[in-house]
Each structure stands twice: as structure tokens, then as C-alpha cells.
């Protein structure tokens, strides 16, 4: 928190000093401490409520009005001071708290006066209190004549008619203005819908209590015969009323803050899985506005769209309805059609806008990430497929080119050998035989190389034959069980063959197994390949490239690999590859 933002806390010691000073003056005038404390409490509650609002919602202006009301309340406590000048000043300028409280009730909950007639009412109240202050300064008669107040130092007159006239006019005008304040707030409350009324209710309560207290104090109490019992009753009514006003306003504002928190909590709860329709419903419930509609912006349609992605026009010119457009960097994101009462609390609207923007941003980011992941997966599949095609071409070239030429040369040498006449020495026969034998080995090596690049039998005879060939070439006995019900797609068959080949290679190299089994079954459009052995186990997909290579290759066709390899209890590799039955 910045230093300037902490300054309001200085009001705490200032208020205490102010209260102590007021109490000190009252005590010097002979008032008992219990009475003093009771009289000081409303001011303390007003200041305290203002500071609580400031601490929770520093942007809201209502806290200043409550603090001002609290200090204004305590100004009146100095009117019993033994210092004549202080007492006159307090008598003239004290008890202005009604102006600030009425202002707060009219401006609730935003702290800003929204309507011209409300501003007029506040100006009227200031004018009334100013007129009364001037009257008390210059027209007031000494207390021995009026029976109330302090000595008039400026015009020591004895005729109290003008002063009485001003005081009576003030009382009636003040009470009437307060009733108008109540009427204004009530009118706003009546015109609002359910959520708006809920929001404005604390302000309405405050205005009602304030108007009743003012009417009671200035009309009924003022015209009643003032005695000790009546004075005390008026005092307590006003005391409770002002405390009630402060508490109602503070509670109302803090409740709004809870609404904002509820919005934030709601978004956190919805998380990333919040389609606009669900978010709109959740916001509607959280804000108690059944009419709230969230309309996301569709860049494709170039307009706002409804739940069914149909373009819609934003509602305009409707009483009690408002549209809040949500944008990011000038680009539309969504629009909220809602009860106009939400605008009474700009902070709540900001929270909702932020929540919607955040949620839709998250959704768009998630969609982009998913699209990118899908593109990466597709790209990986294309790369693998292109690699397969290339390997197949190389294998074919090896078979049709180098391998065939070597075979042909071998045959040619053998033909030459058969045609050597009897005069040729046995040495030549031996050389030719060795050449044929070496060629045979070269052909075998080339064949193995070609098969390693791509097993031609996989394309020509299918996965079953390829697995059988693979098992037959294994240096250890392997039990094979194949039930494919047709040939899976080429990419799936390649992945399955690669997985089986890699797994068998691993078993031969590392497992020290005695029994090995390969099982390939197609059920429910899923090729399930299982390679198991009774070897030493302990295989880890994080070690080496064999198992990881299987997982990578299988993933290119959307498959999964599960490896179970407890130490000393063999290894089981289960591969699942989605495939359409053919």
C-alpha cells in the first residue's frame, strides 16, 4: 500500500483526540463521564464505519462522507464547553452530520450522486445548515432568555423572534428535505429490479432511519416541552439512529464487496472448463439477476452470438436494462446484457467484466493450445507417415536394385563356374565358390538391412504374417497369438510391428527371459498388442530409448503404452492402438 493510501489511518488518533477534547469540555461543564461516553459513541461509530469501508473499498467515496459525519457529530459536543467562543462555534456549526449521511444515502452504493435532483437535495441541505449556522451566530439570544444554547457574543439582542423563526423554519425544512431524500431513495428502489433493490436496500434503510430520526428530533422533539426525560429520550433515539445509519451503510457496502468476491470465486471455481453459456448462467446466479445474458463475440460472424452461436443484435433503449461491452485492446470480447442496477456498483461491474474477460481469454487460450496440440500431433503423424513412405521406398530400391544385382551376379558366377572347362584348375573353382559364398552373405546382410528399414512383408502380407516372420527370426522361442479379424490401417500396423520388434529386441538384449509371448487382438476398433516375458523385469520407460521409442511411435497414431515391469517378475508391455476394423 502506498504511503498516501495509508493516510486515512491518521484519522484514528485524530478522532480519539477530537473525542477526548470534546469529552473534556463536556466534563468541565459538569456532565458525567457515562453521559459523555454515550454521546461520543455515535461519532466514533460513524468514523469507525467510514474507516472500515475505506480499508475494504478505498475507491468508494462513502467512507469520506461517514468520517465527515462522525467529526461533524462530535463538533456539537463542544457546545457545552466552558470556553464561550468554543461553545458558540460548536453551537453554530455542530451537528451537520445529517447533511453527510443524507448525501451518503443518496449516493449509495457508488458514493457518487447519480441524479440531478439528488445533487439539488444535498445542496439544499448545505444551504439549510449554513442558514442555521449564520442564524445561531448572529441572531441567537443569550441562554437566560432562550433557555438553550450559548451566549451570543456578536449581537447581544433580547428579541428571540427572528431566531425562533429561523430555527422553526430550519426544523421543518430539514425534516421535509430529509423526507424528500427518503422519497428519492425509495423511488430509485421501487424502479429497480430484484438485484437492484437488494443492492439499494441498505441505502433505503439508512435514509428511512435518518428521516425518521430527523423528524422525531426536529419536529416532534423540538415542539415538545423540553424537559430532562424528553431530552434524554430524544438523545437516545438520535444516538441509535445515527449508529444504525452508519452500520447499515457499512454493511451494505461490505456485502457488495462480498458479491465481487463471489464473482471472483465463481470464476476460480469454473476454472478453464467454462463455456460462455455456463459462465453466463453462473454469473446470473451469483448476481441474482435472472435476466443476465452473456453474448460472446464471434470473429467469424463479425457480431455477438447467442448460446446457439447465432448472431444477435445487442438490446438497446430498454428501461432497467443495460449492456456492458467487454473489450480487450479495443477488440470486442463479449457483451453482458443485465439489470441496470448493476451499474450502481461500478466495482462489481468491473469484477464481472474482469471475470468474463479472464474466463473467455482462458477458453480461447485453451482452444488455441488444443488446436496447436492437434496440429503438432497431426504434424508428427505426417512426419512418421512420410518417414514410412521413404523407408518403404528405400527398402524397395534396395530390394529391386542392389539386392537383385547381387543375386544376379551370384547366379552369373555360379553359371560361370558350371561352364569352366576341365582345363581350369581347382583354384579357379575355389575362388568362384568363395565369391558366390561372400555374395550370399552380402545379400543376407543387405536383406536384413532392408528389413530393418521397412519390413516389406508388412505391406505385402499384412501384420499377422509380419509378426509371424518377426517371431520366426527371433533367436529365442516366442509364442504368438494373432486374432486380427482383418487388416488394421497401414499406419497402425506399422506402429504395432515396430512396437513388437522393439520389444522383442529389448527382451533378447536385456530380459534374460525363458518364455516370451506376443499377442495381437483386434476388438471394438482397438488393436491390443501385448508382449510379455518372464525375465528379470525392472524396465523403466525413462531409461534408454527402446520403450520411449515405442511410446513415441504408438502416440503418432493416438495409441497408448503401459509397461508393467516389477523387478524379478518379468515385463508386460500393453499397447492399445485405435483402428477401424477393415
Amino acid at each position: 500500500m502506498k504511503r498516501a493510501a495509508r493516510l486515512p489511518w491518521l484519522l484514528v488518533p485524530l478522532g480519539l483526540c477530537w473525542a477526548w477534547l470534546a469529552g473534556r469540555h463536556q466534563h468541565d461543564a459538569g456532565r458525567p463521564w457515562t453521559f459523555l461516553v454515550s454521546e461520543l459513541v455515535p461519532g466514533a461509530i460513524l468514523i469507525g464505519a467510514g474507516l472500515i469501508i475505506w480499508s475494504r473499498r478505498p475507491q468508494n467515496r462513502c467512507w469520506r462522507l461517514l468520517v465527515a459525519a462522525g467529526f461533524a457529530w462530535n463538533v456539537g459536543d463542544f457546545e457545552h464547553s466552558t470556553n464561550v467562543d468554543v461553545a458558540l462555534g460548536a453551537f453554530a456549526f455542530g451537528r451537520w452530520q445529517g447533511v453527510f449521511l443524507a448525501w451518503a444515502a443518496l449516493a449509495f452504493p457508488s458514493g457518487r450522486l447519480q441524479h440531478r435532483h439528488d445533487r439539488l437535495l444535498v445542496v439544499t441541505l448545505f444551504a439549510l445548515f449554513a442558514a442555521r449556522s449564520l442564524s445561531r451566530l448572529f441572531l441567537h439570544v443569550p441562554p437566560d432568555v432562550a433557555g438553550y444554547g450559548v451566549e451570543n457574543r456578536f449581537f447581544p439582542i433580547t428579541d428571540d423572534r427572528w431566531w425562533r423563526l429561523v430555527e422553526d423554519a430550519f426544523a421543518w425544512s430539514y425534516a421535509t428535505t430529509m423526507l424528500l431524500v427518503l422519497a428519492s431513495v425509495t423511488h430509485r428502489w421501487i424502479r429497480s429490479s430484484t438485484p437492484g433493490r437488494r443492492m439499494l436496500s441498505p441505502g433505503l434503510c439508512a435514509a428511512a432511519v435518518l428521516a425518521a430520526a430527523v423528524a422525531y428530533e426536529y419536529v416532534i422533539g423540538w415542539n415538545a416541552e423540553i424537559n430532562a426525560a424528553t431530552g434524554l429520550r430524544i438523545f437516545y433515539v438520535v444516538w441509535w439512529a445515527h449508529a444504525g445509519v452508519a452500520i447499515a451503510l457499512a454493511w451494505g457496502l461490505l456485502r457488495l464487496r462480498r458479491s465481487r468476491s463471489a464473482v471472483v470465486d465463481l470464476v476460480a471455481e469454473l476454472g478453464h472448463d467454462a463455456p460462455p453459456a455456463r459462465l453466463g448462467d453462473a454469473l446470473s446466479r451469483a448476481l441474482g439477476d435472472a435476466s443476465l445474458t452473456l453474448l460472446p463475440w464471434s470473429a467469424e460472424a463479425g457480431s455477438y452470438v447467442d448460446d446457439s452461436s447465432r448472431p444477435v443484435e445487442l438490446p438497446v433503449d430498454q428501461p432497467n436494462r443495460a449492456v456492458t461491452r467487454i473489450e480487450r485492446r479495443g477488440e470486442p470480447v463479449a457483451a453482458l446484457a443485465h439489470d441496470i442496477a448493476l451499474l450502481e456498483d461500478p466495482g462489481l461491474v468491473n469484477a464481472v467484466v474482469a471475470a468474463v474477460r479472464l474466463t473467455i481469454d482462458n477458453e480461447q487460450l485453451q482452444a488455441e493450445i488444443e488446436a496447436q496440440l492437434a496440429e503438432v500431433a497431426a504434424s508428427r503423424s505426417r512426419i512418421v507417415a512420410a518417414g514410412d513412405v521413404e523407408r518403404r521406398r528405400i527398402e524397395r530400391d534396395l530390394h529391386d536394385g542392389a539386392q537383385q544385382r547381387l543375386v544376379t551376379i551370384a547366379l552369373a558366377l555360379r553359371l560361370a563356374e558350371t561352364r569352366l572347362d576341365g582345363g581350369t584348375g581347382p583354384h579357379i573353382h575355389a575362388v568362384l565358390s568363395q565369391a558366390v559364398e561372400d555374395l550370399g552373405e552380402a545379400i543376407d546382410e543387405l536383406r536384413d538391412l532392408a528389413r530393418g528399414i521397412h519390413p516389406a512383408i508388412l505391406n505385402e502380407s499384412g501384420l499377422g504374417a509380419a509378426l509371424e516372420s518377426l517371431v520366426n527370426r527371433s533367436p529365442m522361442p516366442v509364442r504368438l497369438d494373432v486374432d486380427l479379424l482383418g487388416e488394421p490401417p497401414s499406419a497402425v500396423a506399422s506402429a504395432a510391428y515396430f512396437a513388437a520388434s522393439e520389444a522383442l529386441t529389448n527382451i533378447v538384449k536385456h530380459a534374460n527371459a525363458h518364455e516370451v509371448a506376443v499377442r495381437a487382438v483386434v476388438r471394438d476398433d482397438m488393436l491390443r498388442l501385448e508382449i510379455s516375458d518372464d525375465g528379470r523385469g525392472g524396465a523403466d520407460t525413462r531409461d534408454g530409448t527402446g520403450l520411449r521409442g515405442i511410446a513415441d511411435r504408438v502416440a503418432t497414431v493416438g495409441g497408448t503404452v503401459r509397461v508393467t515391469s516389477p523387478a524379478g517378475r518379468g515385463t508386460r508391455i500393453e499397447v492399445e492402438l485405435p483402428c477401424a476394423s477393415s
Partner: protein, 116 residues
């Protein structure tokens, strides 16, 4: 007259050498074909005693050609392979036998026919 043979392979040079090798051992090569389609036609026209064909042909698998000819009560068919991958498939399709290409000779072919 010796045993008549039809040689089916897409490599002209191989066919020529195979012809010389077999004829040196008393076989009579009555025809050659470069692909499966030609093999079927030649087999029908020439009626050889034995068909010697590569397992991999430009227009398909030699195994498929064998499977097709089986329906005609065709002569013995011996499949030439360059790898053991196809031996099981060759057996299952009804071929009389299979020979590694590089080991082809008259005696080997005769043995393959006789052991069937």
C-alpha cells in the same frame, strides 16, 4: 523332352541367367514373364510343367499369383524368395516349394518339385 519351365521375374537379367542355369541342367524354359499378369497368360498359353516365380512382382505378390493359379489345377509352382519372411506365406498359398533366389539351380529346383 525335359521338364518345361515358365520363369516369372521382373529382372530380365535374372531371367536370362536362370534360363541358362536351368537349361544347363536339362530343363526346357518355354517362356518368361515379367509380372503377375503376364505369368497368368503365359501359364495358360504355354502349359509348362512347372512355374518358377519371384515372390515380389511389379504388379503384386507372387503368392497372390500362386493363389490364383491354384484354382486352375495349374502345374507345380515354385516361389523364389530372397528372404525367409515369405516361406510361411508361400506354404499357405499352395506353392509346391520355395527356393532362395541366389541358390537357384537345376538340381535345387528338381529337389523342390520332388519333395513337394
Amino acid at each position: 523332352m525335359g521338364c518345361t519351365v515358365l520363369i516369372v521375374d521382373d529382372q530380365l537379367e535374372f531371367r536370362m541367367l536362370a534360363r541358362e542355369l536351368l537349361e544347363a541342367d536339362g530343363f526346357v524354359v518355354v517362356g518368361e514373364a515379367g509380372d503377375g499378369h503376364g505369368a497368368l497368360g503365359a501359364a495358360l498359353d504355354l502349359r509348362p510343367d512347372v512355374v518358377l516365380l519371384d515372390v515380389r512382382l511389379p504388379d503384386g505378390s507372387g503368392v497372390d499369383v500362386v493363389r490364383t493359379m491354384r484354382g486352375w489345377a495349374a502345374p507345380p509352382m515354385v516361389v523364389l524368395t530372397s528372404t525367409a519372411d515369405y516361406t510361411q506365406a508361400a506354404r499357405e498359398c499352395g506353392a509346391t516349394g520355395f527356393i532362395s533366389k541366389r541358390l537357384l539351380s537345376g538340381p535345387v529346383l528338381r529337389a523342390a518339385i520332388e519333395t513337394a
